[in-house]
Symmetry: C3
Subunit: 326 residues, 3 copies
């Protein structure tokens, strides 16, 4: 994977955060440890650190996402950065400017970080390859490819409840095929040494070569959920599905939706996760989503700490003399 | 009114600001006195106080309002808060998320205050009942129900010109039926001891039980305006009117519009108010709106001070140990 | 020109920045020198100065422009101002409020500076004439009239490469007729003593009285570009052209587009400028736009410094006792 090395400098430090694939365990641990120390910031009366004071963070959102954009905006502001949000679809596109010209112009405004969300796989890496070396690029979701900050907040949430990844059984349930969340999470769990990662989905919602990711495949949740520590329910990405891969939402819920009965198959202290926004009654029953084992809202809180950590680390690595950079 | 007590803690201090109804005189005086001291901030070269530094204020606007949103945003920024504006109609609603799930997610981002504008009466209280105890909710207008920060800036403006509420004659003219401004103002004036509150409107624009609010009803402005100290003209809420309650704008102006002739019926030093935006030639003649007795633009200035005061007070009351909270 | 003097105080200092026309050389030099000292700010690790801390800058954009709005927003934030962006077309216009009432309301919120973009010539001056004396108004482009901050960033960029304006030959190529950029730049170059300003365009894209601006007119770029130090290509303002003044984009490129061949006619160290966004293959060939003599992206960087300078100077002049003001 070219991008594996591309997001690192010669010393192997993170310059961008584009994909989990190819990162080392120490990269993930550094993020998790930094997130842990930053998580306390949001509980203090003054929820701000001066880390990015005088830096400019630009949200480049080619795909709408209030939730993700908001958490990045809050993360940047709590690190004292100035934040600029550009909805590209509705701005310079009007005047027929190409993506590269738009990028060149924004970087000429001496911004320090681009947070990129795009419906095409590879968009964030494309941008990282074309920006000036002092700019850090964070992938906030690109097509079906990756959503690495989501994966980091997920493993951060898991670690706060179940610190020993090397003893963990994790089930990921639902639309694996269209889920950049699932892809990134599987990579992160693997790097952290999780021995048992299961994906539970109908064949039509699985990528062809899913086993190559190092997961065990189940199409029956009654078997797949047995004894797991963590259940990650995926959102049914209705807006990304072309054609009729599914009979109906109701049928999906009957076959795969997480109910209290199915949850009972997992370990008694299992946690239930979901990247949000949830479709109640489609992939998850409300009693489970709002129940005592759900950590879905903790994920949102942790998302800010994880993003603050990734912002601090990547921009910190850019602060060295530029001659050192690749 | 359940909400009367709901917005207070056990010591009777303001945790939210949802409605004027049921508040005590000391609550209003505290806001007015704080607003008075904050009003000077905007006249200083550095218009900022560190009061809300490190706090996150979220504008939740389910109903468009540039003016009100802007004054809340400025008030928060002048208190050094970080401000997030979410236009709910155009964001998570796209993905079919329920209001409660949206709220849960925003509060999980560890925000401190929600400023809520909604076209449905009771929306702000509903939200206040469902957010975590550390979050303060301010009602920035809910349906026909209440607009309590507008009422506070109105009585703040009145007090700066006519400090003795217990000797005041106030006339509120126009579409009382659809006006949350009128409802909240009548409550505030009553609590502050105003002995003579008059509403002047055609019967079709009056609520059925309007006298129960403690007001005197006039349908003839020539009689109703006589000798008053304060005239509050209401905006003809065309966008809220269903059906033909009125013959025409022109006819309304002829019968109720504030002209210099009608203004002459009031006390010589009477002040003229309007919550804005004004419909020139519909509820008010331009010569009056722009004339020497108009304090309409002072209301805008005072609105920022009043909102800064309410933000400071409610968040200050939340800053106690959480164990103390209801 | 009434506006010539209108933007100055009695001591001849800039209170607003509406047009280049009628300014003195020392006004421009003060802006250029200030921009030069501010340019370094963006290269520091902490890209912020406290100059406008506690000030409120309002972007009043009646015409969409992500690029210009963004540079003003960044300039204001790097000077520590609070920034409010109002897209007027979509906000209070909804409720039918007049422009003057909107202005009165925003100024009542005790803002310090209005940055105005409007499709009508004279709009910024109109606003400057009607706001309270403590408010500085910057013209961010009004119709075909002026774009003075663009002109200042252009001459700032020229001076960084060719400091001696009194020895300069400058060619401005393209749609002069619809270009507020060209008008303002011609004024600025003239004030700075540029002896040879050329406009190169088909007659249909030239104002009737263009020679009165003190320029030499060429319709043939092969002659007009000969020996120049600076080439300023204008954007083909397709959205501003009514009727068929041009045969086709392709024909325009063949006749006037800046190619490497045409660039070779200029001095060997000539610089190539463009206000952006560029139409590749219409007014400029990509090899030139991205080539070693292009300073197009430097213009973007310099635009922030120039705007920071203009903001600092105009607000600084407002900070005197108000009694001194006109």
């Amino acid at each position: 994977m070219s991008n594996t090395h591309f997001q690192l400098d010669r010393q192997g430090r993170l310059l961008h955060f584009l994909t989990i694939e190819g990162l080392k365990r120490h990269h993930l641990i550094e993020i998790l440890d930094t997130a842990e120390s930053l998580r306390g910031v949001a509980e203090r009366r003054v929820k701000k650190l001066p880390t990015l004071h005088g830096k400019t963070v630009v949200n480049l959102f080619f795909e709408a996402s209030t939730r993700t954009r908001t958490t990045f905006e809050l993360a940047a502001k709590r690190l004292s950065a100035d934040v600029l949000t550009l909805n590209i679809a509705t701005s310079s596109a009007v005047k027929g400017e190409s993506l590269l010209d738009t990028l060149r112009n924004i970087e000429a405004m001496q911004c320090d970080m681009f947070v990129v969300r795009h419906e095409q796989s590879g968009a964030a890496e494309f941008i990282a390859r074309h920006v000036k070396p002092h700019i850090a690029v964070l992938n906030a979701g690109d097509g079906r490819h990756a959503h690495p900050t989501q994966a980091m907040l997920d493993v951060f949430t898991i670690r706060r409840h179940k610190p020993a990844f090397e003893a963990l059984q994790v089930a990921i349930v639902g639309d694996i095929l269209h889920s950049r969340v699932a892809r990134s999470l599987i990579h992160a769990l693997g790097i952290l040494g999780t021995p048992d990662i299961r994906v539970i989905a109908p064949r039509t919602l699985l990528p062809v070569d899913v086993e190559k990711l190092g997961v065990r495949v189940f199409d029956n949740p009654t078997i797949g959920l047995r004894g797991v520590d963590v259940i990650v329910m995926l959102r049914l990405q209705k807006e990304r599905m072309a054609g009729a891969l599914l009979p109906s939402e109701r049928e999906f819920f009957q076959c795969y939706g997480l109910t209290e009965e199915r949850l009972a198959l997992a370990k008694p202290d299992a946690i239930v996760m979901h990247p949000g926004p949830i479709n109640r009654g489609v992939e998850i029953d409300s009693r489970v989503a709002d129940g005592p084992r759900s950590v879905i809202l903790e994920q949102v809180t942790n998302g800010i700490a994880a993003r603050m950590a990734i912002m601090s680390i990547t921009l910190g690595n850019h602060a060295r003399p530029t001659g050192e950079q690749i």
